[in-house]
């Protein structure tokens, strides 16, 4: 049972790493120029601090996943540290995606009470790419949550091992 749980967790980490890398790549390559009333303005991901934070947070989480996949095999003595870091990284991923979603919602629907107009009609391609990146980031966060809960479950249930 230990082996199957080990493979499952490694597989989930790979999946999460793929989702994070795709989120970063899609966000970084999203830009579009639009001309409104003779003013050309470019929509890039660096215009808003949230999307910068999103890219940095996904990069940190992706680097951590890569490290754990490469260096830490089974039966390592640092398993407690890995689980604690998993909790922290899950929290970071969830926080980055929820912050980016909050600002992206304002960009898409606007906020009438504050007088903020939505910008998605002027830059639709940029909006679509950001949406795709956010979907990928959301998938990475969920995968990490499932991974964390299954690691805890693997440790907390009594070990069903054969003791003859």
């Amino acid at each position: 049972m230990a082996k199957s749980k080990g493979f499952f967790i490694i597989f989930m980490r790979l999946l999460a790493l793929g989702a994070m890398v795709s989120a970063i790549v899609v966000m970084v390559t999203s830009h579009q120029s639009a001309t409104v009333l003779n003013l050309t303005f470019t929509a890039k991901y660096t215009n808003d601090p949230v999307f910068k934070y999103f890219v940095v947070a996904e990069a940190i989480a992706g680097g951590y996943s890569l490290l754990v996949l490469i260096f830490f095999s089974k039966q390592s003595k640092l398993w407690r540290l890995i689980i604690i870091m998993d909790v922290v990284v899950t929290a970071v991923l969830i926080s980055s995606i929820s912050a980016a979603l909050a600002i992206a919602y304002v960009g898409k629907k606007g906020n009438s009470h504050a007088g903020w107009l939505p910008i998605c009609e002027q830059v639709p391609k940029f909006c679509e790419q950001v949406t795709g990146s956010l979907v990928s980031g959301f998938a990475a966060a969920i995968i990490y949550l499932i991974l964390l809960l299954s690691s805890l479950h693997a440790i907390l249930t009594p070990a069903i091992a054969v003791d003859p």
């Binding site: 230990a2 199957s4 080990g6 926080s95 929820s98 805890l152 009594p158």
Partner: protein, 232 residues
Amino acid sequence: MALQIEEKPTEYVVERKKDWVVLVLRVVAFLATASATLVMALNKQTRTLVVATIGTTPIKATLTAKFQHTPAFVFFVVANGMVSLHNLLMIAVNLFAHKFDYKGLGLAMVAILDMVRIYTFKSFFLSNNQLTNQSTQKMINKQVTIDDLLAPMQVNVGMVSGGVNAAVFMAELGKNGNDHARWNKICDKFESFCNHGAGALIASFIGLALMLIISSISIIKLVKLKSTHLQP
């Protein structure tokens, strides 16, 4: 039967000694998240602003800033409220667990867990009757220890971190505006609203930090591992 009666008192004494630090941290975390919820939920400011001037008569408009205007703040209030209730429940479980034996609940949990195991990991589990009886016996008769509250704790950490970060970036947008998107800042007009929101955010961040510390302490003190390491 004789073995179980002898084992219980020693477990009882050992668990009690270690509990106080985590309990105090949990109480402070509960207070932090509850205060964040309350302060943000009661956050409201009304101001009368001069919108335009026609001739000599100024036109005034009454504008209200409420937390419901922004979905991020609504999520913040809901997440912190749920997490503070759950923290309260966990404090109660920590304090009063050894007074109740949850035998009936244990049986239901074991039944559900067994069904989940059988349907998901069919070939990998031993169908040895002796071992399953032993593990089910242990599950039914156990007391609630610090390890049982681990999984809910992680979910709570996730919720609080999501809520607080969404709210913090919306607050930053309200404070600084965004030139590229032509979004004006609103904090210069609604100062009290912004200050109260900032206080609620700080309290929630403190709660998040404390909950991370509680999680780490619980994981470091994990005692349920048997001889074979189930390494994730």
